[in-house]
C-alpha cells in the first residue's frame, strides 16, 4: 500500500484543553505509518459560533485553512467533529455557489491565497476506516480490547446532516451509525448499544444554557452506564470535554453519579496497537482512566 499522507487541521482544543488528543493522533499515525503534515497556518474554524455573528468572515477563514491543504496538494483531515462540519460546510457552500466563491477568493487574494476546491476534507476516523482499512488495522492489533464493553459516542457533527456527510466525510447513517462500532469490533472490543450514542452532548450551549447542556451530557453518560459500558469513546474533543470534565454538573442535573472514563477515538486505537499510556496522554483526563 502506498503511504497515506494527510494535511492535519488540528483545531484549537488539540493545542489547549485536549493535548492528549494530538499526542494520540501522532502516536497512532506513527504506528500505522501514516504521514501527517500539520497545517500550522490554520486559524480557528469558528466552532459553529462565529458564523452566528459573522457568516462571511467565518467562510473566509475556513476557506483560508482549506487553501493551505490545497497548496500542499493533500487531503485535509480533522480531529474534531465541529472543525469537520465547519470546514466541510464551507467547501460545500463555495463549491455550489460560484458568486460566493468569487467573493471569498477576492478576500483571500489580499493575502496571496486562493480557494480552488481541490482538497477532500474528512475526519481522521474515516481516513482510518475508509483509506487505511479496518482489516488492515485489525491485523495490526497487538493488545485486543476483548475485556471491555465500550460505548461509542458519535458526536452530531460527524453524522448530520447526511447530505454533507456523504459529500465529504464518512457518509454515516445518522440514525444507525456504524463506524465506531465497527472500529471497536476490529480492535477486539465489544461495542455497547444505547439510545444516546448518536445524540447531542450539549457542548455548544454550555455557557448560555447550562441546564440543557448538563442534562444532555448526563443522559449520554447514563445511557452508556445503564448498558454496562466500562468506558466511552468519541471522535470529537468537544464531546470529550463535556463528557470527561463536566460530570459534576451532569450528575447534578440527572440526579445520579455519572462519572465514567471517556477515551478519544485515537487513544482507543492506540491502546489496541500497543502504544504506551504516556504516548496516548492518558494522564490528561479529568475522569481518570483507571483501567490501564
Amino acid at each position: 500500500m502506498k503511504q497515506l499522507e494527510y494535511a492535519l487541521f488540528t483545531g484549537c482544543t488539540a493545542k489547549e484543553s485536549t493535548p492528549e488528543q494530538l499526542m494520540s493522533t501522532y502516536a497512532v499515525a506513527n504506528k500505522l505509518g501514516i504521514k501527517i503534515v500539520e497545517l500550522v497556518e490554520a486559524s480557528c474554524c469558528g466552532a459553529s459560533h462565529l458564523q452566528d455573528y459573522d457568516d462571511f468572515l467565518s467562510l473566509v477563514l475556513n476557506a483560508r485553512n482549506i487553501a493551505y491543504a490545497e497548496k500542499r496538494g493533500m487531503t485535509m483531515i480533522t480531529i474534531c467533529n465541529t472543525c469537520q462540519i465547519n470546514t466541510a460546510m464551507t467547501k460545500h457552500r463555495l463549491d455550489h455557489d460560484a458568486a460566493l466563491k468569487a467573493r471569498v477568493n477576492e478576500k483571500l487574494a489580499e493575502v496571496g491565497l486562493e480557494y480552488k476546491g481541490t482538497s477532500e476534507i474528512k475526519h481522521f476516523l474515516y481516513a482510518l476506516i475508509d483509506d487505511f482499512g479496518l482489516d488492515q488495522i485489525q491485523s495490526m492489533v497487538s493488545v485486543p480490547l476483548s475485556q471491555f464493553n465500550i460505548a461509542p459516542f458519535y458526536g452530531c457533527h460527524n453524522i448530520r446532516p447526511s447530505e454533507l456527510q456523504h459529500e465529504s466525510n464518512g457518509g454515516e447513517n445518522p440514525y444507525n451509525p456504524r463506524s465506531l462500532d465497527d472500529l471497536i469490533a476490529a480492535l477486539g472490543g465489544k461495542s455497547v448499544d444505547y439510545e444516546e450514542k448518536n445524540k447531542c452532548c450539549g457542548f455548544h450551549a454550555e455557557l448560555q444554557a447550562p441546564h440543557t447542556a448538563a442534562m444532555l451530557t448526563g443522559k449520554a453518560l447514563m445511557g452508556a452506564m445503564d448498558q454496562n459500558a466500562d468506558w466511552m469513546v468519541t471522535p470529537c474533543p468537544l464531546c470529550h470535554l463535556k463528557l470527561d470534565t463536566q460530570y459534576a454538573h451532569a450528575s447534578k442535573a440527572v440526579g445520579r453519579d455519572v462519572k465514567m472514563p471517556v477515551l478519544h477515538m485515537q487513544q482507543m486505537v492506540g491502546l489496541a496497537l500497543g502504544c504506551s499510556k504516556e504516548e496516548l496522554g492518558l494522564k490528561h483526563h479529568v475522569s481518570e482512566v483507571n483501567f490501564i
Binding site: 493545542k15 459560533h49 462565529l50 455573528y53 448530520r160 440514525y175 450551549a205 448560555q208 440543557t212
Partner: protein, 326 residues
C-alpha cells in the same frame, strides 16, 4: 426501471396507550409480510384493519403535504405516508419499533397533543405584518429573487418532526424550537413584511430564543420537506446583529468572542473566551472545573497561548472581511 416487488416478514413493536384507561404505555407486537411497495402508513392501516380496530393514529392526505402522520420508527422521525418500509428495513433490520413523536405528549397510541407546537408557532407572529391597501393601484409583486430569499422556509408543512426531534424541546419548555424559528425566518425574509424587529426580539430572548440551540442538526436531518431549520436559525442569529438588536449577554458575547480571539491568536483562546462571555464575575462559577482541568494539564496559561503561523494574514482578513458589528 421497474424493480421486482419483494416480500419481507417484519416484526412491528408498536407503542400503545390510551390516556383515559391506561396507567402506563406498553408495546404490542404485530408480525406481517410486508411488500417493497408499502410505506409506514400502509402498516398503520393494516394494524388497524387486520389486527386491532382500536389502534389510533392521525392521517389525512397520504401525499406528504398535510403533515398529520408524523411518527418515529426506531427513533427516526418519519412522515408515515412518505417513508418506505424497505428503506427502514435496510437501516434497522426486520424488527421495527413505532412510537408517537413524543411519548410524554401521547393521548392515544400514535396520537399526541401538539398544543405546545402550536403555542410556539403562534409566539413568533407567523403572518405578514404589513399595511395592506384595501384598494391598491397595482399588485404587490414579489420578484423571483425576493421569493428565493425565503430559502424554502415556506415549504414547511408543520408536521412537528423537527420540533419533537429537537433535544432542547425535551428539556427546556420555554424554548421556541426549530419549526417556529424557521417560520419566523420565513416572514422576516419576506420583502412585504414590516414586523422583523419585533420578531427578532422574540427569537432573541434568552432561554426561549435561538441562543439555546445546541447545533445538533437533528431538525435539518429529520425535515421531510428539506426546509433546513438549522440554516434558518443561523440566519436569525445573523439578523439579530444586522438589525442592531443584540443584547449584551453571555450568548452574544460567546459568538463575538471568537472573532476577538481569532484576531489576536488565529486560534481560539479558550480561557479568555469563557471569561469574555461570562464576564469577570460570571466566570467564577467555572473555577472548580478549571482547577481540575489545570491539574491534568488541560489549561494553557495566557503567556503560553499558541498562535497560528502567518498570523498577519489572519489579522488582515479579519479586518477586511468582517461584516458584522457588536
Amino acid at each position: 426501471m421497474v424493480s421486482e416487488i419483494t416480500t419481507t416478514r417484519v416484526t412491528f413493536k408498536v407503542f400503545r396507550f390510551n390516556m383515559e384507561t391506561d396507567y402506563l404505555p406498553y408495546y404490542k407486537t404485530y408480525e406481517m409480510d410486508v411488500t417493497s411497495e408499502e410505506v409506514v402508513l400502509d402498516i398503520l392501516n393494516r394494524i388497524k384493519w387486520e389486527f386491532d380496530g382500536s389502534f389510533s393514529y392521525r392521517r389525512s392526505c397520504r401525499h406528504g403535504i398535510c403533515g398529520a402522520c408524523a411518527i418515529k420508527v426506531n427513533g427516526k422521525g418519519v412522515l408515515a405516508c412518505k417513508e418506505r418500509i424497505n428503506d427502514l428495513i435496510a437501516m434497522f433490520g426486520t424488527e421495527l419499533r413505532f412510537d408517537p413523536l413524543s411519548e410524554k405528549r401521547a393521548i392515544k397510541d400514535m396520537i399526541i397533543d401538539k398544543k405546545d407546537f402550536w403555542v410556539k408557532h403562534e409566539q413568533v407572529n407567523p403572518y405578514l405584518d404589513s399595511h395592506i391597501e384595501e384598494h391598491p393601484d397595482m399588485e404587490c409583486a414579489v420578484t423571483p429573487a425576493q421569493a428565493e430569499a425565503l430559502l424554502d422556509a415556506d415549504y414547511c408543512i408543520q408536521c412537528g418532526l423537527c420540533h419533537y426531534s429537537c433535544p432542547v424541546i425535551e428539556i427546556n419548555e420555554e424554548y421556541i424550537g426549530p419549526a417556529a424559528f424557521a417560520k419566523a425566518y420565513r416572514f422576516n425574509a419576506d420583502v412585504r413584511d414590516d414586523g422583523i424587529d419585533h420578531r427578532i426580539d422574540i427569537i432573541n430572548a434568552p432561554g426561549a430564543g435561538v441562543w439555546d440551540c445546541v447545533k445538533c442538526y437533528e431538525c435539518t436531518q429529520v425535515c421531510p420537506k428539506e426546509v433546513d431549520p438549522f440554516e434558518k436559525i443561523t440566519k436569525l442569529h445573523n439578523q439579530v446583529f444586522e438589525h442592531g438588536r443584540a443584547l449584551n449577554n453571555v450568548a452574544t458575547r460567546h459568538a463575538v468572542g471568537f472573532a476577538h480571539s481569532i484576531k489576536k491568536h488565529g486560534l481560539l483562546d479558550e480561557g479568555e473566551l469563557v471569561r469574555y462571555s461570562e464576564g469577570n464575575l460570571g466566570v467564577m462559577k467555572h473555577v472548580p472545573v478549571a482547577i481540575k482541568m489545570f491539574t491534568k494539564g488541560k489549561i494553557v496559561l495566557p503567556w503560553n497561548m499558541p498562535k497560528s503561523e502567518n498570523l498577519d494574514e489572519i489579522q488582515k482578513l479579519v479586518k477586511s472581511s468582517s461584516t458584522a458589528k457588536f
